[in-house]
Amino acid sequence: MMNTILEIKDLKKNYRNFSLNSISFDVKEGEIVGFIGPNGSGKSTTMQILMGIREKDGGTIRFDGKEVFEDKPEYKQKIGYVGESLDFYEKVKLRKIYQFVRSLYSDWNDELFHELIRTFDLSLDKKNRENSKGMKVKFCLALALATNPKLLILDEPTSGLDPIIRIEVLNILESLSTQKNTAILFSSHITEDLEKLADRFVFIYRGKLIRELTREAVIKLNKPLDILLKQFMDEEDNADGTDKTFDFERFVV
């Protein structure tokens, strides 16, 4: 039986126009969980709270059996993260960024890092701003994977990648999960990627977790993920009594 590596319970975050509403789910060792939802549904916020980038307003997060606190960041030693915004330290060479990141991790795999840099055809002597979006994603993935993580949190990692590299990245993630038992929490608007990789799917909409389905359950439903998401969103809107249908006739003169 697989152990739970990440457990989120009643996670809450309130903003003026949006709130995360009691999000609860878990991720087991070696499992790939697809985090699906439309833009602004709370995927990035949830992931950023997990990484201590944003503070939660309520709920608990347990990683590897221990409760996580923002002022005790040691738990992040075993979590690799690739965020949605990658325009950091634009005027600094990748080599310096890598040396700095390496110094912060106790279990850094330098051999793997350089192997990935070669595979991804990156140059450490380039400044971050000289790289395309795809190259930035690859650099961040190399950093995240070199930390020997127990959990990888990836916020839209395949967006901006060309199809060949995208497949390469997906294969790396798959082998990481099967060979090293690394758990992966993966959000993407490219639902094909999630369909290819994920063992389980967590659907989120308007800050609320609306469904959790295993791969087998999705296969049984025999519908693509984006259609399922739309169906679940409609069901949620109907339950709330909100009609989201766009009425074109109102604009006909």
């Binding site: 950023q48 990484m51 201590g52 980038i53 923002e70 002022d71 005790k72 960041p73 040691e74 738990y75 992040k76 030693q77 993260y81 965020g83 915004s85 990658l86 325009d87 950091f88 330290y89 634009e90 005027k91 600094v92 310096k96 040396q99 700095f100 990141v101 110094s103 912060l104 991790y105």
Partner: protein
């Protein structure tokens, strides 16, 4: 503490050439002032850490004044507290370097009268503590644009003193009063650090 050390090394290395240039410039600056016959000891005591602060900390703050960079830093195994403590610690280190550097220079050139007065060291240190603390608070609470306010006020104040023909070292302050001023400045600097941690954007 280990993580704070790596953050300090990051600040020193990300713009090493610019920082080194500022460091070399401090020596040129001390030499220029000391040989001008004015022996503006206290100004040197303030300007050496000021220059180092501009070269290393301000530039890194400028690099970090971006949503992605702050997000990236916060995603690493460091806390908000460590990120802010590191900048405050480094700025205090620059004050100590300023004092040591100035003393070394005066010891190397014994022909120049040594204008040593403990109260002046305390006073200039107090000014730098407030200056650095305010800059860092405004940076972490708001942004780099807002944090540029204290350097401007600082330069304008020095210019004002100069125009009024008031030389900083000619101000005689009894040592107990200078000590109290320094203690207050250290407390203010510490409080600014605490508030920065609590109110970080």
């Amino acid at each position: 503490m280990e993580q704070i050390k790596h953050l300090i090394l990051k600040d020193l290395s990300f713009r090493f050439k610019l920082g080194l240039l500022c460091f070399l410039f401090t020596w040129l600056f001390i030499f220029g002032i000391a040989t001008s016959g004015k022996a503006l000891f206290t100004y040197v005591l303030m300007l050496v850490p000021g220059l180092l602060f501009s070269g290393f900390i301000m530039y890194n703050c400028y690099l970090e004044d971006n949503y992605s960079t702050l997000t990236f830093l916060k995603s690493l195994p460091v806390s908000k507290k460590m990120l802010i403590q590191e900048k405050f610690l480094l700025s205090n280190l620059f004050i100590v370097i300023g004092i040591i550097e100035t003393f070394i220079f005066y010891l190397l050139l014994p022909a120049i009268p040594f204008p040593f007065q403990l109260s002046h060291i305390f006073l200039s240190t107090a000014v730098m503590e407030i200056y650095f603390g305010t800059f860092l608070y405004l940076f972490y609470r708001f942004n780099f644009f807002a944090s540029r306010f204290p350097p401007n006020v600082f330069v304008m104040s020095l210019l004002f003193l100069h125009l009024k023909k008031i030389e900083f070292q000619s101000i005689t302050i009894p040592l107990p009063l200078a000590t109290v001023i320094l203690i207050i400045a250290l407390i203010v600097n510490y409080l600014l650090m605490i508030v920065s941690i609590k109110k970080m954007r």
